[in-house]
Subunit: 205 residues, 2 copies
């Protein structure tokens, strides 16, 4: 479009939107146009919500969850909620998986978010995944059970076996989600009932 | 998630994102998580860009284009660019179609954005589409040619015929995009070359 038409700023916004997963250049353009037609009702509120969350979200130093409205440096509400059992830790690859577990609603203990899986290729070792920190927590929080809720992929299962071995002799039993997780399936794509069933039918590794 | 976990604000943001076309609840969650992991690098800049455009974008009072960086109440840069021909007006249904025409790059005149098509069912008549304003422009801007670049849908073509009839006796010739627009096709989904070819092969109605 003509220079000075103000298209540059709209175009730049479309480019930013197109970087989101699930949106390509065309759908980003449609989304921006949708917002341009609803500037007061949708675009400004979305901008405010994004700014607020970007500014106030924090990584929990204990479990790795991302939460809003927590004092900087303090653990998240999941880590400090007295109604949640302290003797159980559910290990997940990703914050998305923690959200999926919480939607299932069956687990009432604490979490540990790895932030990925072991990968020699990408130089992701136990340190990068906070596994030493997990071992510390198992000891200091008197954890009786560590539930490995990792994806049923080769990487997820390799990581699960590494953690199970590392926890040998810790006194905690190590279990994993079982029934209902399909081979190759990713937790975040399962329905909530399937996750709950898999949690109830968990088995010792 | 537990009350006070700050999930409410993240959940509210996901709901807002899920209202965008092309994003459902699941992809909105993935997009928000993607942003939560890139709070400084992507989330805050996106929030700022959205806020800036929401605040400064204006509907052009002349052509109906949406543009940023224009004095409130003043016509957009496409309407005031002296390098663009004043004797030709391209009529489009939608700002997205204007963008598609501009990406084609073949048209160097002015625009008129209808904002929809005639629809008895939805009570959208000529007034709602700014057709009287278009007739005024054709007279006052000494327009020689009105190019109807409407979608090749029943609604688009009905609206095109209505405008062609309304312009009879105005002295302007009325043409429409021809070759290359497939039956039932929508402009915004065509590649840029197709639009340019259709413009070059335009025919008198
Ligand atoms: Zn936490
Ligand atoms: Zn204009």
């Amino acid at each position: 479009m003509a220079p000075g038409a103000g298209r540059d700023e709209i175009e730049a916004l479309i480019v930013q939107m197109a970087r989101l997963p699930g949106l390509g250049p065309r759908s980003a353009r449609r989304a921006v146009l949708h917002l341009l037609r609803r500037r007061e009702g949708q675009m400004a509120p979305l901008a405010a919500a994004l700014a607020h969350v970007a500014e106030t979200a924090r990584d929990c130093p204990l479990c790795g969850n991302i939460a809003v409205g927590v004092t900087p440096g303090a653990p998240c509400a999941l880590c400090t909620d007295p109604a949640r059992a302290t003797g159980e830790i559910c290990v997940v690859e990703d914050v998305a998986d923690l959200w999926a577990m919480e939607r299932g609603g069956a687990f009432k203990g604490r979490y540990h978010v790895l932030g990925g899986t072991l990968s020699a290729l990408d130089a992701i070792g136990p340190e990068e995944l906070g596994i030493p920190r997990l071992l510390d927590r198992v000891a200091s929080e008197q954890v009786r059970e560590v539930i490995l809720a990792l994806n049923a992929t080769v990487e997820g299962q390799t990581t699960a076996h590494y953690i199970a071995e590392a926890l040998e002799g810790s006194g905690a039993s190590v279990t994993s989600l079982a029934q209902g997780v399909p081979i190759g399936g990713e937790l975040d794509y399962l329905d909530d009932g399937t996750i709950s069933a898999a949690l109830r039918a968990r088995r010792a590794l």
